[in-house]
Symmetry: C2
Subunit: 381 residues, 2 copies
């Protein structure tokens, strides 16, 4: 079985090099840019791939929704297995792609769409074969972890670290998908869909961004609370209800997540049988992400065509998980919610009583209207 790769950018070229070196045949690569080194393997016409009977698996590394989505739909309809590293696409078309693949008797794999080089989704899928997953939770975005780690380690300001991350290529010119949480929300949705055998969209995930974090928050969390902080996406199943949320999370200084430095990722699952399993590694990058795409391709070439069968859709209500929150704001917070309050200058540093994720995210909208740079973080039990 030969392989086609769509897109010869960072991930596509990494995937090609890895598969080629490992002895797998990449028959065609689709890219509109000239790559003379690829010779006849390069094509600018997707039909060359669609009509090539020897190509049994199409790996997409274009990014964005279109034309990537149309290409994958056409490939599945032509009876080809598909692999994608594209979280936006997988998150948006999860059900469509799986339904179509089931109809056509092919498989859809997307290991690189959450966790980058970490074999996270592979192991999560595998875990569901003989375990009930009750929780997925992780540092899934390298940019925000790089920012938090540098703020903690160097006492730097958010904006300075963001600029440094951009200059190092860790953060995009427009960093909003990272620092406002969309990237982590999509990875949380995909992970929760697999873990809880349902289909969860990015809109189901409640998000507190990291954008408003300030030096004074780090100083308070580290100095007054003796804690650390990470930016974490979480999906929890309890009593048949699913909660999915992305929040800055205040954690113990000696916790596993606190050992995750720089732009690394770590994602955990809790299974009723296996207990907690955590997976650490590079969440992005040419070769790490290329490995994840290549592993999906190799599984398929080796004859593993198992396909996820999403069960009933479950509503996410975020009402079942409760915890305490840290809030730094100039605005007033309802006094019955306050467990402790320290005033430094104009800022209220508040630790709330236990409140549901749903309740806190609703309340945050009112607080943000009064003080737009308020910062919210969950506190790990």
């Amino acid at each position: 079985m030969k392989v086609a790769i769509l897109g010869y950018g960072v991930v596509g070229s990494g995937t090609y090099e890895i598969l080629d070196k490992a002895g797998y045949t990449v028959g065609k690569i689709l890219d509109i840019r000239p790559h003379p080194e690829l010779g006849d393997v390069l094509t600018t016409d997707f039909d060359d791939i669609l009509n090539d009977k020897e190509i049994g698996v199409v790996a997409e590394a274009i990014g964005g929704l279109e034309p990537a989505h149309s290409f994958l739909v056409k490939a599945i309809k032509a009876g080809k297995h598909v692999v994608s590293s594209n979280k936006h696409l997988i998150c948006t078309y999860y059900d469509e792609l799986h339904s179509l693949a089931r109809e056509m008797g092919v498989t859809v794999r997307f290991s690189a769409s959450a966790g980058g080089g970490i074999p996270w989704l592979h192991n999560l899928c595998r875990a569901t074969r003989c375990d009930k997953i009750t929780r997925v939770s992780g540092i899934m975005n390298g940019t925000t972890n790089f920012i938090i780690d540098a703020m903690i380690t160097d006492g730097a300001d958010f904006s300075d670290v963001l600029a440094m991350a951009q200059s190092l290529g860790y953060a995009e010119a427009d960093p909003s998908a990272d620092i406002d949480g969309l990237d982590t929300a999509r990875k949380t949705a995909i992970s929760s869909s697999i873990a809880f055998n349902t289909e969860i969209s990015e809109d189901d995930v409640s998000v507190f961004g990291l954008r408003n974090i300030k030096k004074c928050d780090i100083e308070y969390i580290k100095g007054k609370l003796n804690k650390s902080i990470r930016y974490v996406g979480t999906g929890v199943m309890s009593d048949g209800a699913v909660s999915t949320f992305v929040e800055p999370l205040i954690i113990g200084e000696d916790s596993l997540f606190a050992g995750v430095k720089k732009n690394n990722n770590m994602i955990s699952l809790v299974g009723e049988n296996v207990g907690e399993l955590s997976f650490f590694g590079q969440g992005a990058g040419k070769y790490p992400t290329g490995v994840s795409v290549a592993q999906d391709v190799i599984d398929i070439v080796n004859g593993d065509f198992a396909l996820i069968t999403p069960g009933q859709s479950i509503n996410v209500d975020n009402g079942a998980v409760t915890k305490q929150y840290y809030v730094r704001t100039k605005a007033d917070v309802p006094s019955d919610l306050i467990d402790s309050l320290t005033k430094i200058g104009d800022d209220n540093f508040i630790i709330t009583k236990e409140i549901s994720v749903l309740g806190m995210h609703k309340l945050s909208k009112e607080i943000i209207q009064k003080d737009g740079v308020s910062f919210f973080a969950g506190i790990e039990r």
Copy 2:
């Protein structure tokens, strides 16, 4: 394809419950003890399993070398796939079982033999498909991690913590395989064999035990060096040479390994493409280990019969890796090897200059002859 389980102890019964609940058919369970709840599934005669044509995979959870080894050899010769959770057996008969399995066209799986419930060996095997592994390294023994963590956290003495670990069921009545390193050495040998595509025996692994660690070591490492410590097995491939060793390892207080508490395990690989990947979880226990055995069985039932093909045997010389060591001893240490020395009472607390693993383990034998309770630990770079 039906499954047989050999041994209905902790791991065997965990495996049975997990497979049964997940819808796989366990046709026979071999145990010499009565288990009326198992009805016809229980047998005391291995031939019942051997002659049952419906049984395609035999999972061994007896422990020890015999009769487990003979049973697995007979099963393979009868054309059945085999799974084992038995590190002693796998480490001892690695080549024999693989050669025989290759001849018979069946597979051998042993995910639970290193890492317990952590899908470590599965992911390590998988990583070798498209990466060159240069290092495996990990906290692979829950008992010694429990002891170290309690000594650090509670300031307790080694012997008190060991007694507590025994009363909690974490440590055996005879704890020597744990605290003298044989358990970790076997897991390191198995992991290194897979990582470097060779066959490494437990005798190839140089071992410093944990038995001699004292409260004063923890106080020195924590108080004077501002470091933490874990008990770590390591295999390194560099310039065609393999080093494999088990040592107490002095690490940064904010390193990933330092976040591994209680009886948990964490094992890492470094691949040229993927970088560092780390896997955390329960290294033992009925259900975690049962999950690993069950996952091997499920792979086989699903038709994944891939078998490791060990390459050329590589000599382990431990000469290629150098580092600094911590030595606490009443004996004299050659002065040209000493980087720093602090004398407290009769004890010399020494940080050595860089020395090879080979050199340090040789020297340790002379030092131990002069002071039998000397303690040695590598220092992470």
